[in-house]
């Protein structure tokens, strides 16, 4: 049975390899197209990988330990959902998922019929070239279907902190974002070859760019939410290299979606758009490479398995040099002059693009610098989170400022003075209020209060423009998504700053019967007991939350002891109130009499996630509203 599956799955991968290679032939023969074969080959790719992926899931579900990957990452006593998510909780499986999403995007895009046939077919060919590369990679260097040499009775198991429902869906969503930008990259290359980068090009690619961006945003948010409740440190973002790896493509992608909008409206910023499309995909590759190669844990792991890392590096450099070479040849032919005046919306967008690029460089340097010193000087070091906070804060202030003003400027020409005059009362009152509050309240400093007030203005102006447009007449205007996302960003920033300022934390060495206190809440430590879970034993504490003598709720933090592999995790217990989260986490007893209990008050967490959801929603609305308009035309 196992050997049959082994042969079938490897043949499926080879089928995908061959069909993607066949599809790339259009690249060398632009004028000879056969539309039927384009979608036919895309369908073959999809089905071969879909079945292979299905087989891998099947192997994990039945715990077939004759396959090395299943042995290394699964265990027969693991709950079903984690056998399932174990498929992509490792390098080989996640690369297969990566290819599945590559062929999925290729398939869906080949289904549409656009007037620009040559462009569409070229896009599919470039995409197939990438599918070919990655399929080659998994076939020879990272094959998920490798039979193990020994007979194992049971598997090693999945790292328990990864055994979480949210983390089961985090990688697929994040990959939909990362890989979605592979299609955007293919658009850029195909557009460069056709020399047709204009309004029509932008309107074809716009929905795909926004869908990929929305998935990327959602993927990052899911990871952050997981870190918030699973790691038990009370934070939701740690400027960890793994997090930065996903933030970097997001920053480039955010600049990109704005460029695509400018290009669609004004037929300008061609070069920027192309550069950002290439950059976003390259950063997605770098992100995957950093996280999956193990180089972040230690640069020395890279040397222990150089094949894989080397392949992704070669792939990355091919992508970078190939595309920039093409860009250098063609860029003179694609650029259209910017006819709008200096004071216009596109200038505002350009300024914010520079700011995004600056933030990107800050994150890039902070992430890469420790790797570089370790690799070249054998000096280990870490970059503290303060580095990011201090450098990014002033940039965010200017960024929000232009987010408020740019949408209120016209596309063609505006008088700056008119705009400033129309907003003078809001501006003066906000600036003076921020200054006064920062003087009289120690809690906030000037930059924090400025961010809060600017964000408030952003929320109000965005909502106003979003609703007046959709309210007056029943036709939904295309900037509804933009306004929802911008308002969401404002809400998000307010929550981020207030959360940082108002968060409270206290650590107790607690015994059963103790009453702990934090910000007016009383925590009554009632009892602690041993509980048996699905594949772990746990110490579970029961703590009542009281305020003004009334019991409001009960916390049940746990310490879980897993045996496969042997690991201890602390499970947080969080009560989500409207304005703040109350967060309890417990650590292994230091001595027999007491346990360490950490209490957190985390204000505005719900509002923070709400802001993120608005941002994602805004992206999706923009993607799909545009789609209906294309269909109508």
């Amino acid at each position: 049975m196992s050997t049959t599956i082994y042969y079938i799955s490897n043949i499926l991968i080879i089928i995908c390899l061959v069909s993607s290679l066949l599809q790339t032939r259009y690249l060398f023969n632009i004028n000879k197209f056969n539309n039927l074969s384009v979608s036919f080959l895309a369908t073959i790719q999809l089905f071969s990988i879909l079945i292979a992926f299905g087989l891998l899931i099947y192997l994990f579900l039945i715990s077939d330990f004759s396959f090395e990957l299943v042995y290394l990452n699964s265990h027969s006593e693991k709950p079903l959902i984690y056998k399932f998510s174990g498929v992509w909780g490792n390098h080989e499986g996640s690369m297969l998922l990566w290819i599945l999403i590559l062929v999925l995007f290729n398939f869906f895009f080949s289904l549409f019929s656009f007037k620009r046939k040559i462009f569409q077919n070229l896009t599919v060919s470039v995409q197939s070239l990438m599918i070919f590369g990655f399929t080659l990679f998994i076939l020879f260097l990272s094959n998920p279907f490798k039979l193990s040499e020994n007979n194992y009775a049971d598997g090693i198991g999945l790292n328990p902190i990864l055994q979480d429902p949210l983390l089961a869906i985090h990688p697929p969503v994040l990959y939909l974002g990362y890989v979605g930008f592979s299609l955007v990259f293919s658009f850029a290359i195909a557009g460069l070859i056709c020399k047709e980068i204009d309004k029509t090009w932008a309107s074809i690619i716009k929905p795909w760019v926004f869908i990929a961006w929305s998935f990327l945003t959602a993927g990052i948010a899911l990871g952050s939410f997981w870190a918030y409740y699973e790691l038990g440190w009370g934070g939701y973002w740690f400027w960890d290299p793994v997090e930065n790896a996903s933030l970097m493509p997001w920053l480039a992608a955010t600049a990109l979606i704005h460029c695509v909008v400018v290009l669609e409206k004004k037929n300008t910023m061609q070069s920027w758009t192309i550069v950002l499309a290439i950059m976003t995909f390259s950063l997605s590759l770098i992100g995957t490479f950093l996280v999956r190669s193990g180089i972040l844990n230690s640069v020395h792991t890279f040397a222990s398995d150089p094949g894989r890392g080397l392949f992704i590096l070669i792939f990355l450099f091919t992508v970078l040099f190939g595309s920039f070479f093409l860009f250098a040849i063609q860029s003179e032919k694609i650029n259209k002059p910017d006819l709008s005046s200096l004071v216009s919306r596109s200038t505002g967008i350009q300024i914010n693009n520079w700011l995004l690029m600056t933030i990107l460089s800050i994150v890039f340097i902070g992430t890469m610098y420790p790797l570089a010193t370790d690799l070249f000087f054998n000096q280990s070091l870490t970059v503290g989170p303060q580095y990011y906070a201090i450098t990014i804060t002033p940039l965010i202030i200017i960024f929000i400022f232009f987010m408020i003003f740019s949408p209120r400027l016209g596309w063609k020409e505006s008088k700056l003075i008119n705009l400033i005059m129309s907003m003078r009362f809001i501006l003066i009152s906000v600036l003076s209020l921020s200054f006064i509050i920062s003087l009289y309240f120690d809690l906030f400093n000037l930059s924090e209060i400025t961010i809060i007030f600017l964000s408030l203005i952003l929320v109000f102006t965005s909502l106003k423009s979003g609703f007046s447009l959709s309210g007056k007449n029943t036709i939904i205007k295309s900037n509804l998504g933009q306004n929802i996302a911008h308002a969401g960003f404002g809400i998000f920033m307010i929550a981020v700053v207030s959360n940082a300022v108002y968060s409270k934390e206290k650590i107790y060495d607690a015994k059963v019967g103790d009453s702990l206190e934090l910000s007016g809440y009383v925590f009554n430590f009632k009892k602690i007991e041993q509980v048996e879970g699905a594949n772990f034993n746990s110490l579970k504490a029961y703590i009542d939350l009281e305020k003004e003598e009334k019991t409001l709720d009960e916390f049940t933090p746990e310490i879980r002891f897993y045996s496969d592999p042997p690991t201890i995790t602390s499970e947080t217990s969080i009560i989500h109130k409207f304005f703040s989260d109350i967060y309890v986490v417990m650590n292994v007893p230091q001595n027999q009499q007491s346990v360490s209990v950490r209490l957190h008050i985390k204000p505005f967490m719900n509002i923070l996630w709400f802001g993120v959801i608005m941002i994602i929603l805004g992206g999706l609305i923009t993607a799909f509203l545009k789609r209906t308009r294309i269909d109508e035309v």
Binding site: T301, I351, T358, G384, Y387, L395, T567
Partner: protein
């Protein structure tokens, strides 16, 4: 025509200057803050042999020496971090992580005092019991006390 050209040049120049300002601000921000927020990692031997800048926040990694953990009170701990040859006395106030144990790898962050003690404000430990911080592995290899693969 000439008016159009000068307009174009003016616009380009303005944009160029704007981007130059942003880039220089960024470079200044990065250089100043990176320098202040870098935390270097040292092994116990490094700390003893080299004359390091005392009073700066650094990381120290090694094995928690057997029979060296001692509670001064419920939340103040003393232990020794060793690389097999030499050790450093560490004092830490707070919660020790779940996987802190004698003879296991540990990374502490804090200040190396003039009297040779290390006052830690953070004890870092990963979740997996068998996990050894890569810096600690390197430390043990350097001191010739690494017994793993």
């Amino acid at each position: 025509m000439t008016a159009g050209v000068t307009e174009k040049v003016k616009k380009r120049l303005t944009k160029f200057l704007l981007s130059l300002i942003i880039v220089s601000i960024a470079v200044l921000l990065i250089v100043y803050n990176l320098k202040d927020n870098i935390v270097y990692f040292y092994s116990p031997s490094d700390l003893i042999e080299e004359n390091l800048n005392r009073g700066q926040i650094i990381r120290l990694g090694g094995l928690v020496k057997t029979d060296s953990v001692f509670n001064e009170s419920e939340s103040i701990f003393h232990f020794k971090v060793s690389d097999g040859n030499v050790h450093i006395n560490v004092k830490y106030e707070g919660i020790l992580p779940n996987l802190f144990a004698e003879d296991k790898g540990v990374v502490v962050e804090g200040i190396y005092m003039n009297d040779g003690r290390f006052i830690a404000n953070k004890v870092l430990a990963k979740h997996d019991e068998n996990y050894m911080p890569p810096e600690v592995i390197q430390t043990l290899k350097d001191s010739g006390n690494w017994q793993g693969q």
